[in-house]
């Protein structure tokens, strides 16, 4: 395989690449071997420690209910955060300065605060000022924290989605006599939603990952928390971590793949305006990439450039 960064290897380069491959392979093998030895030393390769995962009991009592709770919290958070985010995203585009200002402040505020802080606060708030039962409270707190943070992020996605539409769409709507509200609801939003779909799906990955915080800090019985209960029963800390990590990876990998499939599909289909907010733009660590004030200057949603290298 060649790339712009290097020429198609000739005989010498081929030999050198093989040498590098060999050295790297040896180093990698040494690392793996060392890890394997270390596991063996500590008796972590004992089949008894792995055995529980082949029984249905470990799955039906611990892992699957945990996974169900993770998905439940993530789905609830998404369903509530999306309309809320849409409202704030549209409000940030308002013609009225004070609406823009208030929405902008709220969005920037909640994006600047760690989700964990929001969750901890919500948990304590519910326990003091509301009569949410103590067994429901962790779920409520986790969902509240996730909603507040992700509504702010999704507001930015919505805003970027609307801004990514060609100006002609708005102008045409005004030309045929639609009012501002009508333009937004029947012309801009439907197209923006299509453009935003991949970004929204990939935001789900972030939400799924963040539910794990509630498990550790608020004792919400999600996947990571159930791992603790399971490990306490079978004394297989390392093994349970590996299994749970794999479950998270598979789940999130499915979501990521779905998002990028959706992105490709939308780019191909002729019915959209061609503006698609890709999953790449919406990585967790890159929320402001869609034209936020955190200074990326990505006006109107940075559309992913074509991958020319590698």
């Amino acid at each position: 395989m060649s790339s712009v960064l290097y020429d198609t290897p000739g005989p010498r380069a081929k030999r050198r690449n093989i040498l590098f491959s060999a050295v790297f392979a040896v180093l990698l093998a040494l690392l793996l071997w060392w890890m394997w030895q270390k596991m063996d030393d500590k008796g972590q390769l004992d089949s008894a420690l792995w055995k529980p995962f082949t029984t249905s009991e470990a799955w039906t009592t611990y892992l699957l209910p945990g996974l169900a709770n993770t998905l439940k919290a993530a789905a609830l958070a998404m369903v509530i955060a999306l309309p809320l985010g849409a409202v704030f995203g549209i409000a940030r585009l308002s013609d009225h300065r004070w609406v823009r200002g208030v929405a902008g402040t709220v969005v920037e505020f909640f994006r600047a605060i760690p989700v964990l802080l929001l969750m901890l606060f919500a948990n304590e708030f519910y326990s003091r000022y509301t009569d949410v039962s103590s067994e429901d409270r962790p779920l409520y707190a986790v969902v509240t924290g996730l909603v507040l943070y992700n509504a702010a992020v999704l507001a930015e996605v919505v805003r970027a989605g609307i801004l990514s539409l060609p100006r002609g769409q708005t102008e045409a709507a005004y030309a045929i006599g639609l009012r501002k509200g009508q333009t937004m609801s029947s012309i801009l939003l439907p197209q923006a939603v299509t453009a935003m779909l991949p970004a929204i799906v990939s935001q789900l990955v972030v939400i799924v990952k963040d539910t794990a915080l509630g498990g550790v800090m608020l004792n919400f019985p999600e996947l990571l928390n159930s791992r603790g209960t399971l490990a306490a029963n079978y004394a297989n800390v390392i093994q349970s971590f590996i299994v749970v990590a794999i479950m998270f990876i598979v789940l999130n990998f499915i979501l990521t793949s779905f998002a990028s499939w959706l992105e490709r599909y939308l780019r191909r289909s002729k019915r959209s305006t061609g503006a698609v907010l890709g999953a790449e733009d919406m990585e967790e660590l890159n929320p402001a990439a869609v034209g936020g004030t955190f200074g990326t200057g990505g006006e109107g949603g940075g559309l992913p450039g074509s991958r020319t290298y590698t």
Partner: protein, 221 residues
């Protein structure tokens, strides 16, 4: 009104957050750049390793990684990180996890920055006979870095917020102190506001300064 702050080391907790952020950021930058170099290198095995690392790490919750570093690495494998002190150990394990996790995102930012450098630059570098390493370190990366300051600023801001996860293994940073405080004091709203304000103070200037820097340094094309 702010009596409840007495007896709590709020500034100390935020200082811990800053220390966690700064040290992890340096680690993540170094490891992330190496990963990015691997991902564009001519050696297939390195490319494969980089790809697997990034995709695996990005899909695991940071909480899982941090908790594993404490319950798995420290307790079972006895990884003491060069200290017997429980607090220092927790801090170092948190830095290790945060750096390892953030590096995956740094790698992707840098890789996307590499993609913004015009192909002609790399072609010209190859034409005058530079090797892959020279092309990357002398021509492509310096230009790429200037264009990824913005994305890297976002990574840094996210890292600042992510340091709160260290509370899960008992590192005495802001989130852990807030948890203790809101459980023991009456002024839930006020305490929440103080800590929220603290994070706004940490993240907002970072974003503004680096945003300004990225506009100034971006290679104008």
């Amino acid at each position: 009104m702010f009596d409840f702050l007495d007896g709590y080391d709020v500034l100390g907790a935020f200082w811990m957050t800053v220390k966690l952020t700064a040290i992890s950021a340096v680690g993540a930058l170094v490891w992330g750049t190496l990963l990015a170099a691997m991902r564009v290198s001519p050696v297939p095995l390195m490319r494969g390793f980089g790809t697997v690392y990034v995709n695996v790490v990005r899909n695991i919750p940071l909480t899982v990684i941090v908790l594993f570093s404490s319950l798995g690495l420290a307790d079972i494998f006895g990884m003491t990180m060069g200290s017997d002190d429980f607090d220092i150990q927790g801090f170092r394990l948190a830095v290790l996890s945060l750096a390892g996790y953030t590096a995956a995102f740094v790698c992707e930012s840098i890789r996307s920055g590499i993609n913004t450098v015009p192909i002609g630059q790399a072609e010209a570098a190859r034409a005058i006979g530079l090797s892959f390493r020279q092309t990357l370190t002398l021509v492509v990366l310096p230009q790429a870095f200037r264009s990824v300051i913005g994305p890297l600023a976002n990574v840094l801001i996210a890292l600042t917020k992510n340091t709160t996860v260290a509370a899960a293994i008992g590192v005495a940073e802001a989130a852990l102190l807030m948890k203790t405080m809101i459980e023991n004091e009456a002024q839930v709203l006020l305490i929440g506001a103080v800590f929220a304000f603290g994070f706004v103070v940490l993240t907002l200037p970072t974003g503004l300064i680096l945003g300004w820097l990225s506009k100034r340094l971006a290679v104008k094309r």
